[in-house]
């Protein structure tokens, strides 16, 4: 394969060129209530070529080998167009030349599990919620993505890496008269099929929550002090803060770039945030990014002070900061962009009981239902929350959507719990989907969050 790829980019005659070829095998088993709605396994493949020449960088994704030379030519023409239009040329930070093949070790290779077993296991989990009268729908699906990647660049790097992700996820919907509630459930990982075995308890517990939500009241909109559980702490770390650690987002937003200067103070001493993609066993694990750079742990915030950032070769050169290996593509349809690998707020010293005591009155907010950011402001939905009175969890409330100002909220993090929990399923959409976007944290105590209610 590398010979073919080398021949393609040799035609570029540019300062730099790279090419990635991927075979993507996608396996799915999906239920729609008791009915199986989708099952099957398919492989598709494609190429992405990038050319850096005369001060510009451009990419072309193509699927037919016969289009290779045309694609290289387009990429070069577009790179020249960019170079001509810019005063400052696009540059790449230097990186070591690597020749490696990395095939991850798995706890049970999903490719060796039969489709019949995948079907039965998914059916078993899907049937758990459907045992209950108040549950009107379960849409549980099994998804397995195996990416076989070949990366080669004109500097001599040649990397073969496999990324194998399994995900068991879906929606459980409950209904009482006109009131419809739903809850997301998910398990999985990047270290093998064993991550989705023995998940009955997860499905039973989430089913119980979906039923309990029918009896709960909507939260009253207003400002609350809150404890965010690890599931939602992770979404906060990812959405509110993490995206602005991605250098390609702030690169072209001068005012945000000024605010996000290394050494700036962003929170109290208790706040530490890291992205640790090389941490073994977690969903976001990989060895090399899609520019052939070896990924490393990045300390983003240490004791409230901004200490690092996530980079591509382009942004590391632009910011004159160290490379981090975070340039990742969804698949062969896309050129890479900067993505978090495994972002989390690092644990501190407080137990949940101690945090509840410190909170006094407020909300204990449990698990996320999506989130987004617009720079200084963020928003995320939570599955549910408990009202906390005098340091005790009381009734369950629903329809929790929270918004806040990033800088103020980081300063309003008053205490950090002692147990780190990382999410098992991902799905960050930044123009491309990143199924392996891992996030997490401990319970954290945050003051003054705006809760929308309905």
């Amino acid at each position: 394969m590398f010979d073919t790829l080398r021949k393609i980019i040799n035609g570029a005659k540019a300062d730099y060129a790279d090419i990635r070829y991927e075979i993507k095998k996608d396996t799915i088993v999906a239920f729609n209530g008791r009915e199986l709605s989708q099952i099957g396994s398919n492989s598709t493949d494609g190429y992405v070529v990038r050319v850096l020449d005369k001060g510009g960088l451009a990419s072309v994704a193509f699927t037919q080998l016969t289009d290779a030379s045309k694609s290289v030519r387009f990429a070069a023409e577009n790179a020249h167009l960019i170079g001509k239009a810019r005063k400052e040329p696009v540059r790449f930070a230097p990186t070591e030349v690597i020749k490696d093949a990395f095939i991850p070790e798995l706890k049970e290779d999903p490719r060796k599990v039969t489709m019949a077993e995948k079907l039965e296991l998914t059916r078993k989990y899907n049937n758990i919620p459907l045992k209950y009268d108040k549950i009107v729908m379960a849409n549980i699906s099994y998804r397995e993505i195996c990416r076989e990647k070949y990366f080669l660049n004109s500097e001599g790097t040649e990397i073969r890496e496999d990324l194998i992700t399994v995900q068991l996820s879906g929606l459980i919907t409950s209904r009482d008269g006109n009131l419809i509630q739903n809850i997301r459930v998910g398990a999985g990982g990047s270290d093998g099929f064993s991550s989705i075995r023995n998940q009955e308890k997860l499905f039973e517990e989430n089913t119980a929550v979906a039923i309990d939500l029918l009896k709960s009241s909507p939260v009253k909109g207003g400002m609350y002090n809150c404890i965010l559980n690890p599931g939602i702490t992770g979404v906060f770390a990812h959405e509110a803060f993490g995206h602005f650690s991605e250098a390609d987002i702030i690169e072209t937003l001068p005012a945000m770039r000024e605010k996000m200067k290394i050494g700036g103070n962003f929170g109290s001493d208790v706040l530490n945030i890291a992205d640790d993609a090389p941490m073994p066993g977690q969903l976001g694990f990989y060895k090399y990014d899609d520019e052939g750079v070896k990924v490393r742990r990045v300390q983003l915030i240490k004791n409230g002070v901004l200490t690092g950032r996530l980079h591509s070769r382009r942004t590391a050169a632009e910011f004159n900061e160290p490379l981090s290996g975070h340039s990742i593509a969804e698949d062969y349809n896309y050129a890479p962009i900067i993505r978090m690998g495994n972002i989390f707020i690092e644990p501190g010293s407080h137990s949940l009981e101690a945090l509840l005591g410190m909170l006094g009155d407020g909300l204990y907010v449990v698990d996320a239902k999506g989130g987004s950011t617009s720079g200084e402001n963020f928003s995320f939905g939570a599955l549910y929350a408990y009202l906390v009175k005098n340091g005790k969890k009381t009734e369950m409330v629903r329809d929790i959507n929270i918004s806040g100002n990033l800088y103020q909220t980081l300063k309003d993090i008053k205490a950090v719990g002692n147990e780190l929990v990382l999410r098992k399923t991902g799905g960050c959409g930044k123009g491309q989907l990143n199924l392996r976007s891992s996030l997490g944290g401990p319970n954290i105590l945050v003051n003054n969050l705006v809760v929308g209610g309905i």
């Binding site: 960019i82 989130g371 617009s374 402001n377 995320f380 929308g452």
Partner: protein
């Protein structure tokens, strides 16, 4: 393609091949400078077969191995996903003008120059950070099945997205322009960006509470996701649509008319047939507040014993690897008779919701929304006072769309949604005051 259909016939009762070729270019200006050019030259095919009442699926980017492609489809039959439908015989399709050959010849330099022109205009009239993207798509689709259908279309699409970002954030005032061929972004859109951006220079913290909310096309996705959830055949089948069984009843304000208008070929998303080869037609969902129809793909129409109405689309991902699901070609909300200025004048106290964060989360089937403004402008006595930050807008569409004050006279095309501004009353706004 013919060979594949023949080959499929030899192993299954019925087969359908969907073939797509797509070339795309995306020119991206950030902070008023040319930043990136991304292109795609892609093609592929997907195959569905029906055998003994079961559906099988396979897809490929390179038809190098036809037998393996077929084997994948056959293997997927084994799980037993039921097919309560037949592939349609569609011979006559509406004639649409979806292709303008000039776009094939439009050079990237022309698109770069247009982004530069718009960026410079916005930069000279505002103090914000400028973004501009020009995108071209040239697509060819062919659907062939064993019932005898063999239909195809070619389409060209040009999109321009430009706007001004509020410094210190990643949000701003953006406008979309859509056409089948390259043409300059109209001055009216550029002037609207400049006017709204400059009106928002002051940050205000109004008192929260129920107030008038003008859902601009850019934030209408909040309403559309929930409207489409309620109208989808999939939601009916899953018993999660709050309006199932309410056809003929008045569910919203008499000012609200909602439809799919696939044959309106003024826009590049016009379609003569859906992704399953069913011919498209105008379909009203809600007329003057009265619920009329739901939308179905072949699968859910079959399960619900309803007539398929041309709404099976491979949205929501890679078209080649995605199976059809209920979807809409060109979703529209009927325009009213008020200009944007008149709508703003009608607000005694309220907000102009230019964008929303978190529209995809929350209890969508129930119609609930609870979103952060991103951004919103605060209006008092018909005048824009400034920008509101840190605020949330919440409600339920089955209530909000009963409280419609007026609808704008101009619809904007955002992707395949063609939507006017909608002014609603009594919408809950939570602020920090």
């Amino acid at each position: 393609m013919e060979k594949l259909i023949e080959l499929s016939k030899s192993v299954s009762d019925k087969a359908e091949v969907y073939w797509l070729k797509q070339n795309a270019n995306n020119i991206s200006f950030k902070n008023a400078k040319l930043h990136d050019i991304d292109s795609k030259l892609q093609s592929g095919a997907s195959l569905r077969i029906i055998k003994d009442g079961r559906i099988g699926f396979a897809c490929t980017r390179n038809l190098l191995n036809r037998e393996e492609f077929l084997r994948n489809a056959l293997n997927s039959l084994q799980g037993g996903a039921e097919a309560d439908y037949e592939f349609p015989l569609t011979v006559k399709i509406p004639e649409l003008n979806t292709y303008n050959a000039s776009l094939e010849k439009t050079a990237n330099t022309a698109l770069v120059n247009e982004c530069a022109r718009v960026s410079e205009l916005l930069k000279s009239k505002t103090s914000g950070e400028i973004v501009a993207d020009a995108v071209t798509h040239i697509s060819e689709v062919r659907i062939s099945n064993t019932a005898g259908t063999d239909i195809s279309y070619k389409s060209t699409a040009y999109y321009m997205i430009a706007g001004v970002i509020f410094p210190g954030s990643a949000t701003g005032i953006l406008r979309f322009f859509t056409s089948k061929a390259f043409e300059p972004m109209p001055d009216s859109l550029i002037n609207e960006i400049i006017h709204l951006y400059n009106s928002a220079s002051k940050v205000v913290v109004p008192k929260g509470g129920p107030m008038k909310t003008l859902f601009m096309p850019n934030s209408s996705g909040v309403l559309i996701a929930r409207i489409l959830s309620g109208l989808s055949g999939k939601s009916i089948y899953e018993k999660i649509s709050p309006i199932a069984g309410k056809a003929g009843q008045k569910i919203w304000s008499g000012k609200i008319t909602v439809y799919d208008d696939p044959l309106n070929d003024k826009y590049p998303s016009a379609r003569a047939f859906d992704d399953e080869g069913v011919a498209c037609r105008y379909l009203p969902f809600v007329e003057k507040g009265v619920l009329k129809n739901f939308y179905y793909d072949l699968n859910y129409a079959g399960k619900l014993k309803a007539a398929p109405n041309g709404h099976g689309y491979k949205w929501g991902g890679d078209t080649i690897t995605t199976r059809p699901m209920p979807g809409i070609a060109q979703f529209g909300i009927g325009t009213g008779d008020k200009t944007l200025a008149e709508l703003i004048k009608a607000i005694d106290r309220g907000i102009i919701l230019e964008g929303a964060l978190g529209g995809h989360s929350g209890n969508i089937p129930n119609g609930d929304y609870s979103i952060a403004v991103s951004p919103a402008l605060y209006v008092e006595n018909g005048e824009i006072v400034g920008q509101v930050k840190d605020a949330m807008v919440a409600g339920n569409i089955y209530q909000t769309l009963k409280n419609v004050v007026d609808i704008g006279d101009t619809a904007s095309a955002l992707g395949n949604n063609i939507i006017p501004p909608i002014l609603c009353d009594e919408v809950s706004v939570v602020t920090k005051r």
